[in-house]
Symmetry: C2
Subunit: 554 residues, 2 copies
């Protein structure tokens, strides 16, 4: 059965491996809703709605009752309960499932992973609604980022894992010449051994997109995985676990290779799970504080973290002012700045910039950015489909508290959502501060908060921005310049600070978006993350090779 | 110049990459002394002798005077001094060298590494004498393990590093279809960025063999390397650093890409170096205590350790008793048990074993092992060429103290070395203990000390031995059995304990020897080591990829 899955998806796998090396555009999962069938969106919504107010029974070991208190940022409480994580039972179940999963072999495991991804793809619209009503992403984004783009990242992890394991032969005969005598012949066997149990700690904003790489990288390399979702965004990962368990059962493998560890804010289990010696691999997306705690305390495990960062834009000059402003307005508005890749600081030279319309002053640039965002969001019905909702009360409070931080360029407004009256919709707050006030802009202000930083010149901007990135982390940088030499210097400085740089984006590619198989998400080279999604290093430490050898007759 | 080196050695590199995937027998460096020229051994000895009693000036930054107090285990004091490590100056120098080294690019750096290896190969006989008179290895072993086999391991690391970096294209155009419109085109650049400064902490027994993998893996991936040799075995790595600096200079690159950090037992610098935040990668071979200290404290760095372990042999049955005894006698005697791969515990069932001559009792097996070693070493002139000398006073003391640990099977004897009157030559001590006396055999007893453990049966032996491996580490296991089912079980148990297994070795392949490009040395899957020499995981974490992207016209 597991072999069937491998054969069925082999062409996709080989194309995916090839794509990781070519790094051009490639995806097997459509980002067009139409591709999912005429009624797919409605059917997905119906499937989502049918889950509301009920327990989601995964058939996994638990003796701890039920938990669940998710509320949609668009208003309604989901009312779904999940088996409350019973740490001992989950760890025992994962350990019991490990030998069969390991012994399924590389192709067996990879086949199951590919089948899970295929089923996730078919359930995209249901998961899209689950993502929407937990993260607050507007539907189109919840569909794309939570569905095909997340599946892409999962497939990418499987491709890297397969490539790394496939590079080690399972059997060879080593034959050493012995002068005129017969050669010595030794038969050698190489086994791919998992590290132990994988723990995936999900985030509240991109539970599937950020969760799938670690989930599939650990699974493919033989590690059973316990998925610990954020209490505010359980459902998308619960559906994922449900599908994974179904595929495992059909393949005649233990369903407990994948389990859900749902908890509530009242009794969090992430630390307890992370510190269990049986946990050998941890994938985490979330706050810098907890990410650092894991890196410092979970010494027995391989820990992959994506934390927070202070992303930046440097405006040096442009030959497409309108394109630049439109692009920035979209980037700042998309999902209300709740992406780990959203720009926060926008450095503008005090002396102004050269643009296609001639020289414009710093004040003009600043005002133009505010106006561009304001205009972009002027139609509330369209605006809510970009902004989505604010995921957490903490982000709302942060937004309120940030208001006094600097000179106001654009006030944040609450918008009425035409379909969801209670939705927490906010437009971005844009502030202006002086470069000298470092304390005001060198910490991450997660949410719809952007800061225009008045700086001596664009070189000073690069120096300040990359210094902040080295100290506090950054996932993305954007630079606008018509000067190739300035772009070259910016590229070097960003490379040294470990920040992915986007130059002169004026069309419909945005600094906060990265494409699987082409863009590396995070570098692991500054405090924002200690790993990249996804590269060879992301999978290499998840398994070990253990060999045996025995002489054979000539 | 760096490009010349790459072109010159490209065929070797490509064959090496291929060899890491095929894992058959392969080596470009001859293990036959004859291949090095008629007078090579004498010339190597002369070059070594010419260095005695003099300072070895590497031309590297130092303000700390000179250090050096090496004594040959074969008797004479070397009298060589080295620039005493000036931690600040070394770190500054490595940092200053980093940009040029990074900017030499993948092929530039790999070419320089291959040229260094080629020069090391040409200087093999000089290095062999340096290895001999610091580690105590007999000449033939110092030549093979310290020369070609060490160079193999260095080349293997370069091959893995090249393969990993080469898998990332430097430039691509990403082209995403846009329905009927023109595709979006983005030019993307991927830069391989080093992590920082590499620190290689050498050991006293295999300074080159264990030092080269980390040295070349870090160098190839762009990290300048500070080499901190063991105070008792500085010369082999000092010559290596000298050669590396010469090649770097000739290539027009900063010599400080590689520096030596020699210290004395009076003022060790390893901890201070390891805790410098500029140090991003640490490779360590040595004691479990310091290895664990590094893993626990050098949190800012990628730490690769090879520590100690409790290796074992399980004798279940054999159809070649004589071959087994001869093979074991060699393994126990080679370099007086001072290999991290030497067997320590030999489990023998209390009920005896089936052998080709029929059933033999446990006492007979035990006595036969003692006699085999005694007979193998009965000719002192030949024996010293296998045993070599005891590297450290600590090992001599351990040997003396171990004498009372169990029933004596074979006493350790001091042998006179025909050419080196003061040499510390000792034959192995073989003891017998009962399996119940766990405290006596579950700790590592480094040196020429073997323990025959009387055990209920061979299954019990595997269980005890692999439990010890999981708790205290093990690098090698050997099993003798004529029962395929027992071998299968042993293989599974060793795989789960992360120990490389050798079955039924009776000829001239020994459990303590591993072949580069085929055998993985250590697995990283038990406390004996957190990494393997060498695999993809050993290089993947030494560099990061940072990208930039910019739209391009259609």
């Amino acid at each position: 059965m597991t072999a069937d899955y491998f054969a069925r998806h082999r062409a996709t796998l080989e194309a995916a491996v090839e794509a990781t090396r070519r790094r051009g555009y490639w995806s097997p999962y459509s980002e067009s809703p139409k591709a999912y069938g005429e009624n797919a969106v409605a059917e997905g919504e119906a499937a989502f709605t049918a889950r509301l107010g009920k327990p989601l029974d995964l058939g996994q070991p638990t003796a701890a009752g039920w938990v669940g208190n998710e509320t949609s940022p668009f208003g309604p409480s989901l009312g779904i309960t999940y088996p409350r994580a019973d740490v001992d039972a989950l760890v025992r179940a994962a350990q019991a499932a490990m030998p069969a999963w390991r012994d399924a072999g590389v192709e067996g495991r990879v086949g199951v992973c590919l089948e899970i991804l295929d089923r996730l793809s078919k359930r995209t619209m249901e998961i899209a609604h689950a993502v929407m009503h937990t993260t607050g992403q507007a539907f189109m984004m919840a569909f794309q980022a939570g569905g095909p783009h997340a599946q892409d990242r999962g497939l990418e992890a499987v491709a890297y894992a397969y490539d790394a394991m496939h590079a080690v032969p399972s059997h060879v005969t080593w034959e050493k010449p012995q002068g005129k005598g017969d050669p010595v012949r030794i038969a050698k066997t190489y086994r791919i051994m998992p590290r132990g149990i994988g723990l995936v700690i999900g985030c509240s904003t991109f539970p599937t997109w950020n969760g799938y790489p670690g989930l599939f990288a650990s699974l493919a390399t033989g590690n059973p995985v316990i998925v610990k979702p954020h209490p505010g965004a359980i459902l998308p990962l619960a559906i994922t676990v449900e599908i994974a368990r179904q595929v495992l059962r059909e393949a005649g493998l233990p369903a407990d290779v994948v389990t859900l560890a749902a908890d509530g804010a009242d009794a969090p289990v992430a630390k307890e799970l992370a510190m269990r010696p049986e946990i050998a691999v941890i994938d985490f997306t979330g706050s810098s504080a907890f990410g650092r705690w894991l890196e410092e305390n979970a010494r027995h495990a391989q820990v992959y973290t994506e934390k927070a960062g202070v992303n930046f834009v440097v405006i040096d000059s442009t030959d497409d002012l309108k394109g630049m402003l439109g692009n920035l307005a979209f980037s700042l508005s998309l999902y209300s700045g709740q992406m780990c890749t959203t720009p926060q600081n926008i450095f503008v030279p005090r002396g102004g910039i050269q643009a296609d319309g001639g020289h414009i002053t710093s004040d003009e640039v600043t005002a133009a950015i505010g106006q561009a965002v304001d205009k972009f969001l002027s139609n509330p019905e369209r605006a809510v489909e970009i902004l989505g909702g604010i995921q957490s009360e903490a982000t709302l409070r942060r937004l309120d508290e940030a208001a006094g931080l600097g000179e106001t360029v654009l006030q944040s407004k609450a918008l009425e959502h035409p379909r969801f009256p209670g939705a927490r919709v906010r437009t971005p707050l844009i502030l202006k501060v002086d470069a000298a006030d470092e304390a005001k802009y060198t910490a991450e202000l997660f949410g719809p908060i952007a800061i225009i930083v008045a700086v001596d010149d664009s070189r000073d901007a690069i120096a300040r921005a990359t210094r902040t990135a080295r100290r506090h982390g950054a996932l993305t940088a954007a630079v606008y310049s018509t000067d190739p030499e300035f772009l070259r210097r910016a590229e070097e400085a960003c490379a040294e600070a470990g920040v992915a740089l986007s130059c002169n984006l004026t069309g419909n590619i945005f600094v906060n978006q990265s494409a699987a198989f082409s863009d590396f998400h995070a570098t692991g080279a500054n405090p924002a993350a200690n790993a990249s999604l996804c590269d060879a290093a992301f999978v290499a430490g998840r398994f070990r090779v253990v060999q045996s050898r025995i002489p054979v007759a000539a």
